[in-house]
């Protein structure tokens, strides 16, 4: 008897220490996640010749993510660049179970924190019932199956619900910009505000707020409403069911649940030692029935160790090569449901593609970032993480709504009116974790002349072509001098040139003006002209995707130099 009780206190102390280790791990990974998001830009460069590069491993969480790895393998049959890092997590999961959910996942950590803030009414028997395993937890396996089946059909939709992509997107496009808006306003107030009695605070506030600014320019994105709604919904659900997202919906959690079938670590129960106090179930994160007398679900356990750390007896313990008689490794999905889910995923792709074919009839407003691969391949890779939008120095990249069809919701598009594509920049191609934007160099982009002299090297990697709206253009329609577009055009020679033309005013006078034109053979589609065009509202020069290198069918000019003897007038 004394032997057993000493073992109990030893175990409890050990599991309490391990629970603290888990908390430290969660905090550290959450901190790392946000830190890497903030490092997704260039803040300084040492010399004029240094190529702007992101030095931090900003894709770390996306690259260790088995869902992205498996999804892109199914949709492209290749494992892009660093996505093989996911193998480390896969191997660990095969041996340990869903440790990622309880120890690493930043989305899981946020849900964990919010679930512990619940109101007082969620206690006692209510909370216990709430924490019991429910059949609805199989929904995540159905979601996973549908997503993977669609991926196998060539349409990668996992990023919509993959927790790492979802969190990266939500923080990057909504939460961090909201923080920056607040800080910009505070900074502005501290510099110029009419603050009356608070004026002594202005200087210290100004100094402090300047340190908290994430960017000196206001960076705002399209589509923040829907993205925020999904994110807030996930957060709010914790009020009703602990880690609702992780238990019921998360496709990455489902993937880990399936992988944990082979785990060698698990919960071992000693019903004889149990006093039915239910403390284990009260603190359970996964809803996996840790209490003796019930079937423990290996696939639902996040290894948070709350159960074993709160057990006052020696009723339960995590052991390697545990006795599995009181537990199940099966995922609660019938074969029929599985087949239906596969069928749904497979059928979804042709149904989504009943829209107009993106290669044959490309959407003119869908200007993809430089390095983007052909549209079908793009949609087989893009996980909508928003890294490209985060890194873009000019706030030029924004999530689509329906510009790329339902299949391409929240994938990146260039909106030149808000920001143009910086000619010497290739950062979006550098951070794209899946190669939807293929990694390119400045020389491959070839929008500006090389350092050794000479003009721009052709052919450049074009993303579109500029066109004038002559009814809005100042020199063309209103007889005013302008050619700001020509000033901003970055190529050598400039794609925008001007001639001198006579304009008749309403009084019948003649004015001589510089009147701009685009040479589509030189234009790369960067959109600097659109960005700088002083005609606010709809610009007088706009970009459409025609001419983009990635789709030879989306072109205008027959750009073949004629051999000698074949020239004619």
């Amino acid at each position: 008897m004394s032997d057993v009780s000493s073992r109990t206190s030893r175990d409890a102390a050990r599991f309490k220490r391990l629970r603290w280790l888990r908390r430290v791990s969660q905090a550290a990974f959450l901190f790392l996640f946000v830190f890497l998001l903030l490092k997704t830009n260039i803040d300084s460069l040492a010399t004029p010749d240094e190529l702007p590069r992101i030095s931090a491993p900003v894709d770390f969480f996306l690259e260790i993510n088995p869902l992205i790895a498996l999804g892109t393998v199914l949709s492209t049959h290749t494992l892009y660049r660093n996505l093989y890092y996911a193998l480390v997590v896969i191997v660990l999961t095969l041996f340990l179970g869903r440790f990622f959910c309880g120890w690493v996942c930043p989305m899981g950590t946020i849900n964990h924190m919010l679930a512990s803030l619940r109101s007082g009414r969620m206690k006692g028997i209510t909370r216990l019932e709430n924490n019991r395993y429910r059949p609805a937890q199989r929904w995540k396996y159905i979601i996973l199956t549908v997503l993977l089946a669609a991926a196998a059909m060539g349409s990668l939709q996992v990023g919509l619900l993959d927790p790492i992509s979802l969190l990266t997107r939500s923080l990057t496009l909504v939460i961090l910009p909201a923080w920056n808006v607040l800080m910009q306003d505070a900074y502005s107030w501290s510099l110029h505000g009419d603050t009356g009695v608070l004026s002594p605070l202005q200087v210290p506030v100004s100094w402090f707020v300047h340190k908290l600014l994430l960017r000196t320019q206001v960076v705002l994105f399209e589509q923040t409403g829907l993205i925020l709604l999904l994110f807030l919904g996930i957060l709010a659900a914790n009020r009703y069911i602990t880690r609702f997202w992780c238990r019921m919906l998360c496709p990455l959690g489902a993937l880990f649940g399936i992988m944990s079938k082979t785990a060698i670590l698990g919960l071992e129960k000693q019903p004889s030692m149990c006093t039915n106090c239910n403390r284990c179930a009260l603190h359970c994160q996964g809803g996996d029935n840790p209490e003796p007398g019930m079937t423990w679900h290996q696939s639902e356990c996040h290894l948070c160790l709350n159960c074993v750390a709160s057990c006052p007896e020696a009723g339960i313990a995590f052991r390697f090569f545990n006795d599995t008689t009181a537990s199940t490794r099966e995922v609660n999905v019938t074969r029929r449901t599985l087949m239906l889910s596969v069928g749904a995923g497979v059928a979804a792709v042709p149904l989504l593609r009943t829209a107009i074919h993106p290669d044959a009839t490309p959407n003119p407003s869908l200007v993809r970032p430089p390095g983007s691969i052909p549209e079908r391949d793009f949609l087989a890779r893009c996980v909508r993480c928003g890294e490209c939008m985060n890194v873009c120095p000019n706030n030029a990249l924004h999530p689509t709504l329906l510009q790329a069809g339902i299949e391409g919701v929240w994938s990146p598009m260039l909106i030149p009116r808000i920001g143009y594509c910086e000619p010497t920049c290739v950062l979006c191609s550098q951070v794209c974790p899946t190669g939807a934007i293929n990694e390119i160099t400045e020389a491959e982009k070839a929008w500006v002349p090389p350092a050794e002299g000479g003009g721009t090297t052709y052919p450049p990697l074009r993303i579109g072509t500029a066109f004038y709206d002559l009814g809005r253009c100042l020199p063309w329609a209103m007889g005013k001098e302008c050619i700001v577009c020509e000033e901003w055009c970055p190529t050598t020679p400039k794609a925008i040139y001007f001639d001198y033309a006579e304009f008749t005013t309403r009084e019948g006078d003649y004015v001589w003006l510089k009147r701009p034109h685009v040479d589509p053979a030189i234009c790369v589609g960067c959109g600097a002209c659109t960005y700088a065009c002083p005609v606010k509202g709809a610009p007088a020069i706009y970009i459409t995707a025609v001419g983009e290198t990635r789709n030879p069918r989306n072109s205008i000019l027959l750009d073949v130099p004629r051999p000698k003897g074949f020239e004619h007038s």
Binding site: I42, D43, S44, L45, A46, T47, P48, D49, E50, P52, Q184, Y187, S188, L191, H192, L213, T216, Q217, V218, P393, N394, E422, P423, T424, C425, V448, P449, A451, E452, G453, G454, G455, T456, L474, K480, E481, C482, I483, V484, E486, E487, W488, P490, T491, T492, P493, K494, F498, K514, A532, C533, P534, K536
Partner: protein, 329 residues
């Protein structure tokens, strides 16, 4: 009898007073707030008269002259030009806060001649520091991404090493100021220019599609934010208005490398010519007139902002009337 069962009729005086008092208190507060906040009429779009702001940072007793330096090293030629002007202490007094305004408009390397030569900027900063300036700020509102412009131009590193504070543009630091010009009324100005004691303008001489050449006065575009492209509709009056608003202490024209075509951002080294000249004057009009003629073969009539600036009293278009000193280093 039924009523007696259902309703309580033993209201005390205390309860009556406290409950009606509470209701009356909130009612009075609401009515009072409505009275205080009531705005009978609004005219948000009526012109409000604002003081015209002119930042005259010149030192009036200095004589106008043009000093032209040439040689093999941009920094030492700059130093020689400053010495020939009587040293930086003629312009900067101990304790002055100085803003040095190079052209950092574009994401280009120094040899592409779209931005001011970083060696010239650094040398000017060093002289300001040596003259006892309390603080030397180097800043510009760029066209391209500021991080790229400031760093790839070499100016951020060079200016920092020379002892300057490098200030990247920030939207929160723009303040609307009435310039009272012909074209430019209220404009968003980078607040630094409203606070400093002295300003040294260091343009680069380069081609520009609309004005044919961009020199000292055109460089002042970099002090304002907002829709700058709109000013192209009357660029010459806009340039003169900017020159009138910010009357710089000294203008130093960087013609070490000049951009002859595809301005103002250029790109190809084929469009760049090495001239190895640095010139300076307290008269920005005469310096622009001289620079346009010397490097681009333009007459005063080709550069209409000169006559407009002269009308503001910013200087003379007839640069030949000013003494010209040539120095070599």
């Amino acid at each position: 009898m039924v009523g007696a069962c259902m309703y309580k009729n033993n209201l005390t005086r205390r309860e009556f007073l406290s409950r009606s008092g509470k209701a009356a208190g909130f009612a009075v507060a609401a009515a009072g707030a409505g009275y205080l906040l009531h705005e009978a009429e609004r005219h948000p779009f009526r012109e409000i008269h604002e003081e015209t702001v002119v930042r005259d940072l010149r030192i009036t007793e200095l004589k106008s002259e043009i000093v032209v330096g040439s040689g093999d090293d941009a920094a030492s030629v700059t130093a020689a030009v400053i010495t020939a002007l009587g040293g930086m202490s003629a312009f900067i007094h101990p304790g002055d806060v100085v803003v040095v305004k190079p052209n950092i408009g574009w994401d280009r390397r120094p040899e592409q001649a779209a931005n001011t030569n970083p060696d010239v900027v650094a040398e000017v900063v060093r002289h300001c520091v040596a003259a006892g300036a309390a603080k030397v700020i180097v800043t510009d509102i760029t066209c391209n991404d500021p991080v790229r412009c400031f760093n790839r131009s070499g100016i951020a590193a060079a200016a920092r090493e020379a002892g300057a504070e490098v200030l990247l543009p920030n939207e929160a630091r723009l303040r609307d100021v009435n310039m009272g010009g012909v074209m430019l009324g209220r404009q968003p100005v980078f607040d630094t220019y409203l606070e400093v004691d002295k300003c040294i303008n260091i343009p680069i001489a380069k081609h520009h599609g609309l004005t044919r050449v961009s020199l000292g006065l055109k460089n002042l575009y970099g002090i304002i934010g907002g829709n700058r492209g709109r000013l192209h509709q009357d660029i010459h009056n806009s340039i003169a208005d900017l020159g009138n608003f910010l009357r710089a202490t000294l203008t130093i024209l960087d013609a070490w490398r000049i951009l002859l075509r595809n301005g103002p951002q250029g790109g190809s080294l084929d469009d760049v010519e090495e001239r190895h000249v640095i010139a300076a004057s307290v008269d920005p009009v005469a310096l622009d007139a001289w620079g346009g003629e010397r490097f681009f073969g333009l007459s005063v009539a080709d550069m209409p902002w000169l006559a407009l600036s002269q009308r503001y009293g910013l200087g003379t278009t007839d640069h030949a009337t000013l003494p010209l000193t040539e120095v070599y280093a």
